[in-house]
């Protein structure tokens, strides 16, 4: 905009539009105070209010008999039987990570973990879907290295294992990496606690770190306006994570809830205390008074605006009955965490902020000093509030129906089918050995051990399958059950056709879970998009949500939570639409490890599902040959369901000895990955009707799964496939020390292994 920022009226400098200001004035019946204006500006930011996306998100199917808590709470919660439930959530920390990769990623991990234990669940697993530009750029390597170190440094120390994730590299993320974090927690069902400030007279106790100037308008502002990475003006909002503080908070909060000492618990995230205090009250239909004088400040001279909007990390708000306060403070002392009464629930239906009220009227006190005075005196109103707003108004921000329009270039994009040119360049009979090796070495496909070895992925002794598997598999101690987790996203498919792309993202995550023998029970999504003021972006968004919803309905997976991140762009280049799906699957009985993505010498190799030309958006076409266009693979939802159920059952009764789904890089890469893992070669014939050998090898059709089968079982497996109406084809055997597809490729196993294993380390440590 033309006007320099500081010559603008306050509300605009705080990011409120003129219309939004008018709405505030109408809400209050007067001009807002500076503090009120600041609170509205953070609470009504895109990040906190979902003002551009709310209208669409209601489309997601959210119901299922086992869903205990759906979207809209700290985390979604589903019942897994045996008196246990799991809490799941996924969040983005894209913009903070672009400014400071280590701390941005670290604080992202800290935030998602707080969402989980605020429900009374113990966080037991993290996943980190990551996206960066291409690694030949030094800044990108710096961001990648920093983000991975940040997740490692915080996650390992706070004591939550990172059991899987993604690392995708594509130029669309050059100036704007995507750092999404998924967390899962487990709890006895009766320990479930919600963020509710019930009961007038109850006390709001702030637990954890002191409140500093760090992160003033942080996440909310950073995530709510496009900016250039490294932008000076954003620096003051960089926050430093303290995993040690958070570890003590986890233990203290779980003890708190176990001992039934908290009526409600809420984490302090974006918009800090204003959000936590007002939201808990609004949800309980109560009011809340907060006294900023009670908040422990990290720096001298912090004003109420800073205190209410600070996004300092590692803080929780517990709603406590006065009679329990001493017990709560004692528990906090034991874990050496700060605990201070900063608010009290009222029946005023208003959110009021005071300065110096509580001491005046003797509201009970603070740790370590023993509580003073009577816990619940009537508040004398001669101390005037410095903010006084209807409690619900902060939480229910404006709702925008942004204009949306199909991009002008969409037809051209879809018409640019990479099939024909690639058919000309690689006709039947062409040697694809070099192409296969090139694909195995692309960073997106290459071995991710360089990343995952930096993460503790074993803590709690649950990890049956960790990084490297299609889905992470965690046993549930004390039961026969296990959980399967996968996060997936494929932006190129979504750009070519967002509806189909949205479906495909859900299908891949569900397929990965099926490959471990699980049935999907919940999905969370992280929707990373560009500037919502661009009609094309909103079209992408609405189509993706529609596609994901259709797939979830077809597979019977309830959506229990999500997160929207807009303004992912550098300058005016919006990123490709990047929805990420996190699917949780349940395995009813796990006796021994699932087969895993490997071949055993002598196994038959069986391909389940339909191989058809599908080069549009594939790694081979788009990354290796820079042909970005065409249509994404067909997303047949009924076929997907059949394949998933078939594969899951074959895995459950162990009639197959290895299994891996076809995704990035296609069938040839899936075969190679299984061969490398099994340290055995393959001899296969890859002739499929309607496909050139190249299309059969490197196309990425949906709902295709490769199985390794003991020859005695082959007939039975093919029979089961036929019964399920799923095409099955025995393509060859696992044998020798070469990867041989007759007349198509012939590669030494050792060469394939090196190409795949050495790629990332070589890129990250150039010699």
């Amino acid at each position: 905009m033309a006007e320099p920022r500081d010559e603008q009226p306050l509300h605009r400098r705080l990011g409120l539009t003129d219309d939004e200001l008018a709405a505030v004035v109408e809400e209050l019946g007067r001009e807002p105070t500076h503090l009120e204006l600041a609170m509205y500006s953070v609470m009504w930011s895109e990040h906190c209010s979902y003002k551009s996306s709310r209208a669409f998100l209601s489309r997601f199917p959210t119901e299922a008999p086992w869903v205990l808590v759906g979207p809209g709470e700290g985390a979604g919660v589903v019942d897994i039987g045996d008196g246990l439930a799991v809490a799941v959530r996924i969040e983005s920390h894209n913009h903070p990570s672009a400014v400071e990769p280590y701390q941005g990623a670290a604080t992202g991990v800290g935030g998602i973990i707080r969402d989980i234990f605020s429900m009374g669940a113990r966080p037991i697993a993290l996943m980190d879907p990551l996206r960066f530009g291409s690694l030949d750029d030094a800044r990108t390597r710096y961001l990648f290295e920093g983000v991975v170190s940040g997740i490692s440094g915080y996650g390992n120390s706070v004591g939550v294992p990172t059991v899987g994730g993604e690392a995708v590299f594509d130029d669309t993320y050059r100036g704007n990496p995507l750092v999404n974090v998924f967390c899962l927690g487990i709890l006895p069902t009766e320990r479930l606690v919600l963020a509710r400030a019930e009961g007038p007279g109850n006390l709001a106790v702030l637990l954890g770190s002191s409140t500093g100037r760090d992160g003033i308008g942080g996440a909310s502002v950073l995530a709510s306006a496009s900016f250039e990475a490294g932008d000076e003006a954003k620096r003051p909002s960089v926050q430093v994570g303290d995993p040690f503080e958070e570890k003590r908070l986890i233990e203290a909060c779980i003890e708190l809830v176990d001992a039934k000492l908290a009526v409600g618990v809420q984490d302090l995230g974006a918009a800090g205390l204003s959000c936590a205090a007002s939201e808990t009250a609004a949800k309980a239909g109560a009011g809340m008074d907060v006294d900023v004088a009670r908040v422990t400040k990290r720096e001298p001279g912090m004003n109420p605006v800073e205190v209410l909007t600070s996004e300092s990390q590692e803080r929780m708000l517990a709603i406590v009955e006065p009679a329990d306060l001493d017990a709560v403070l004692a528990l906090a002392r034991r874990w050496e965490i700060r605990a201070t009464v900063v608010g009290r629930v009222t029946d005023s239906a208003r959110f009021r902020v005071y300065e110096g009220l509580f001491d005046a009227v003797g509201v009970a006190g603070e740790n370590p000093e023993p509580p003073i005075g009577d816990a619940a005196p009537e508040i004398s109103s001669d101390v005037p509030p410095i903010a006084d707003v209807p409690v619900g108004s902060l939480g229910d921000g404006p709702l925008y129906h942004r204009p949306f329009a199909r991009p002008a270039g969409q037809d051209v994009l879809q018409a640019a089918d990479p099939g024909p040119p690639l058919r000309d360049e690689f006709p039947a009979g062409a040697d694809l050995s070099g192409e296969l090796l090139a694909l195995l070495a692309t960073p997106t496909i290459a071995d991710k051990t360089w990343v995952s070895r930096q993460y503790d992925h074993q803590l709690f002794l649950n990890t049956v399958a960790g990084p490297g598997a299609d889905a992470a598999v965690l046993r549930v101690k004390g039961t026969a059950k296990a959980l399967a987790l996968s996060t997936d996203g494929k932006a190129r498919f979504c750009r070519l056709d967002p509806r189909t792309g949205g479906r495909l993202v859900v299908l891949e995550a569900a397929r990965n879970v099926a490959c471990s023998g699980a049935r999907p029970i919940a999905l969370v999504n992280c929707l990373n998009f560009g500037n919502p003021e661009h009609p094309e972006v909103m079209w992408h968004f609405s189509e993706v949500v529609e596609g994901m919803s259709e797939a979830c309905e077809a597979l019977g997976i309830p959506v229990v939570g999500g997160n929207v991140s807009f303004y992912n762009a550098s300058g005016d280049d919006d990123i490709d639409p990047t929805p990420v799906a996190g699917v949780v699957g349940l395995i009813d009985e796990l006796r021994d490890p699932p087969p895993g993505a490997r071949l055993r010498p002598g196994d038959d190799i069986v391909v389940l599902g339909e191989i058809r030309p599908a080069l549009g958006g594939s790694e081979w076409a788009a990354i290796v040959h820079r042909l970005d266009g065409g249509m994404p693979p067909v997303a047949d939802l009924e076929r997907a369901r059949a394949v998933h159920e078939l594969v899951a059952s074959l895995v459950r009764d162990r009639s197959i000895s290895g299994v891996h789904d076809v995704s990035d890089g296609g069938l040839a890469v899936a075969l190679a990955e299984m061969a490398v893992a099994g340290e055995v070669g393959i001899r296969v014939e890859l002739h499929f009707d309607g496909c050139t050998p190249a299309e059969a090898c490197f196309g990425e059709p949906a709902s295709v799964v490769v199985c390794a089968v003991n020859p005695h079982e082959t007939a039975a497996v093919c029979g089961a496939a036929a019964a399920a109406g799923v095409p099955a084809r025995v393509v060859g055997v696992a044998a020798g020390d070469r990867l041989i597809a007759k007349g198509v490729f012939d590669v030494a196993l050792t060469d394939a292994t090196h190409a795949w294993r050495d790629a990332l380390p070589a890129l990250m440590h150039p010699r």
Binding site: V99, E100, Y102, Q103, S209, G212, R213, D214, G230, R235, P236, V238, Q239, V240, G241, D242, F244, E245, R298, E299, S312, Q313, E336
Partner: protein, 82 residues
């Protein structure tokens, strides 16, 4: 080319949290030190750099700080050449 000794001290920028310092401060009273405050933990880098003169040595080390030795987003640094 003459060799210069560079001493770099890296500290947190004001207002940026210092969890390590805070933790040590919390631990000291238990050891009987009740009279200690404002504990901050930083990093030093000592190195030897070949350069035509002290000024260019300083310039190079400053550049190293910006690029590698320090994280200018959250850290401040000070270079001493001798």
């Amino acid at each position: 080319m003459p060799a210069f000794h560079a001493h770099v001290e890296v500290t947190h920028r004001p207002g940026i949290a210092d969890p390590a310092g805070a933790t040590v401060e919390r631990a000291l009273p238990a050891l009987g030190y009740t009279n200690v405050a404002q504990v901050h933990i930083g990093k030093t880098i000592n190195l030897v750099v070949d350069a035509p003169d002290a000024q260019s040595a300083r310039d190079q080390v400053t550049e190293m700080c910006e690029r590698l030795l320090a994280n200018p987003v959250i850290e401040a640094y000070e270079v001493v050449i001798s």
